[in-house]
Symmetry: C2
Subunit: 207 residues, 2 copies
Amino acid sequence: MKKAEIIPEPTLRRLSSYLLYLLQMREKKIRTVSSTMIANELFIESGKVRKDFQYAKIKGRPKRGYDVNHLIVEIDKILKWDGPKPALLVGVGSLGTALLGYHNFQRYGIRFVAAFDNDPSKIGQPVFDMVIESLANIKKVIKAKSIEIAVLTVPEEIAQEVADILVKSKIKAIWNFAPVRLKVPENVIVEHARFAQSLAVLTYKIG
Amino acid sequence: MKKAEIIPEPTLRRLSSYLLYLLQMREKKIRTVSSTMIANELFIESGKVRKDFQYAKIKGRPKRGYDVNHLIVEIDKILKWDGPKPALLVGVGSLGTALLGYHNFQRYGIRFVAAFDNDPSKIGQPVFDMVIESLANIKKVIKAKSIEIAVLTVPEEIAQEVADILVKSKIKAIWNFAPVRLKVPENVIVEHARFAQSLAVLTYKIG
DNA sequence: TTGCTTTTGTGAAAAATATTACAGTAAGAA
DNA sequence: TTCTTACTGTAATATTTTTCACAAAAGCAA
């Protein structure tokens, strides 16, 4: 028996894109948008936008469109992006550091509250407003700070090993940047940052 | 009239994932794999693997499976990952630097040959085996080095502006890491690194 | 050789997703 | 008020992608 997994994944992905545009519109003091406006922005069909809002149970008004603020609030609620969730990062290399410093994540529902590495020369060093901790502490920190999300930016050789530790520490979701398919119990959610896949599509299309 | 855009995008994405696994198998001196082995690894159906190979026009042998080396060669050929293409990067911030140093891209079909920034304090500085150049040089460099691919890691405020320059400089494809939907002529290929979209799926699923 | 087994290759069915089309509703003008 | 217009909401259709199912091919054992 699955949860309310009623919203299809393509719709979820687009909802996050709509949000970006809506935030820009709010910035510009625009109060309502039509499905056509959104569709033109993203180069998709307006019907698709309306279908997505139907899945999301978001209502508009004929002749007026959708209320920008209402859309933002509702999409945030659906994606659970209201009140960013605490997250940790493992692997404070160059990519890891870049991600820790990427302020936009706040807007995308997560907030880094801890960073881990197993390199003794890094442990204890500051990164942004945190201090790099030893992997040995990870279970304790996850519990103490109620962390549900882990971002994995370790070398591929140890990615699975670290994932195992995260699973044991009762993490709920892993966002994996290592080019390895992680094996985790099915109650743990894994999203792969698919650099290779993006490049595959790109280089294929160039021909 | 489109080119031979006969291979569906989901298949292209999976082909790149198969490749990762195949390289591991080659490392282990395993000479043939069956669709079932690949499918188990990626947690998908074996029929899907065979369908993908059908699109890719890759043949196996009943009872034996597919030849690992042959698969690697053929997938590389399809994705144009044989002989990495020269690429440039614009925006040498922390993410940009991390990507420049990410050696695996070589394996994913691209090789950085130039890096640009418009910060005077960065121009002239070395990054890895390159020197950061001014954006003013970009057109010249693209031509001189026959670069077709640009990786965009600039702040969102200037992403469109830089994209316009790239288009004028006759770039063929842009891999965009800024949270902005770029507007480019339709002959220019854009792939968006969808951090927000990945997180949307992840945070939604956590519930 | 024959029979048994494994695995491919591919049509056909099913499911997921996208597109189309239009009736219905609300705003604003006349 | 009534008319016109610009939207939404959704049912129906089309397309894409996945899954299923099985005949045919090839290796292996006896």
